[in-house]
């Protein structure tokens, strides 16, 4: 059994509040930063913290009833909670969507990453290429590429989120990537 889902199972079978709090903290520390990134790249800073806190509450409330068996299922469930909280927020404040993450933001994170874990020239080449693919894509493609390649949402999850079919999402992501590949190779 995967590590994260083992913790969730331990949480479910803990009857005391202290145990729940201790195990719950381990779980939320494991997922919080990815969910923070997910929320803060999708909503303007003024509303992002509220959405993130609602996401944390939703996870705390639902942990006891989660019945998945793998880490992947748990991650998918966490992102589903976050997406629902984002949808709630956008229903109230439709204009609060975040436009994009700037290339400078990405470069700052890559510089920090290189300090944390030095990069070889070949990895550096891959990282630069990946960053170009994400930053030079068309605006309507950016969210698809981020959701699939950075956050790891699968086609079905994106389809549910966007109200599209699985095949349309698969084709959209393929087309977006082909287009940006061409742009990157043409303009460097």
């Amino acid at each position: 059994m995967d590590d994260l889902v083992k913790l969730v199972r331990t949480y479910r079978f803990s009857s005391g509040l202290d145990d729940r709090g201790r195990v719950g903290e381990q779980i939320i520390r494991a997922v919080a930063s990815d969910l923070h990134l997910f929320v803060f790249t999708k909503v303007a800073p003024s509303g992002a913290d509220d959405v993130f806190q609602e996401t944390l509450k939703g996870i705390a409330t639902g942990l006891r009833t989660f019945r998945g068996g793998t880490d992947g299922e748990f991650w998918a469930w966490c992102y589903r909670v976050a997406r629902h909280k984002l949808a709630d927020h956008f229903r109230k404040q439709a204009g609060d969507r975040l436009i994009t993450t700037t290339p400078d933001d990405l470069q700052e994170m890559m510089d920090l990453s290189a300090q944390l874990n030095p990069v070889t020239p070949s990895v550096k080449h891959d990282l630069d290429y990946g960053m170009h693919l994400l930053t030079q894509s068309k605006p309507e493609c950016k969210e698809f590429l981020w959701n699939h390649f950075v956050f790891g949402l699968d086609y079905a999850e994106i389809a549910e989120d966007k109200g599209m079919t699985y095949d349309n999402v698969r084709m959209k992501i393929g087309r977006c990537l082909e287009e940006v590949k061409t742009l990157v190779s043409r303009y460097g």
Binding site: S33, H36, F52, G58, A60, T61, L63, G68, L112, E178
Partner: protein
Amino acid sequence: MAEISQKEQLALHEFSVRYRAAYAASHPLNDLHLETFQDAVRSDWEKEQQANRGLEISGPEISGPEIGPSSPEKEPEPEEPGA
């Protein structure tokens, strides 16, 4: 549609792993967020205790033969939007 080439997948995967690790290092869970989470855990636990006490009080009535077994495999969806 052409399949997504391995070169792009590799580059995006490498970028994603590093980006998320750097983001995690620069955005650790803060005390306020942890407190929000723990408050919700406590609130959920209290609701559960209340429900259990209710079950104990009315136990014989609800454990009668006409009540089917609970379905532990049923995974409730996260709260619905707008709930």
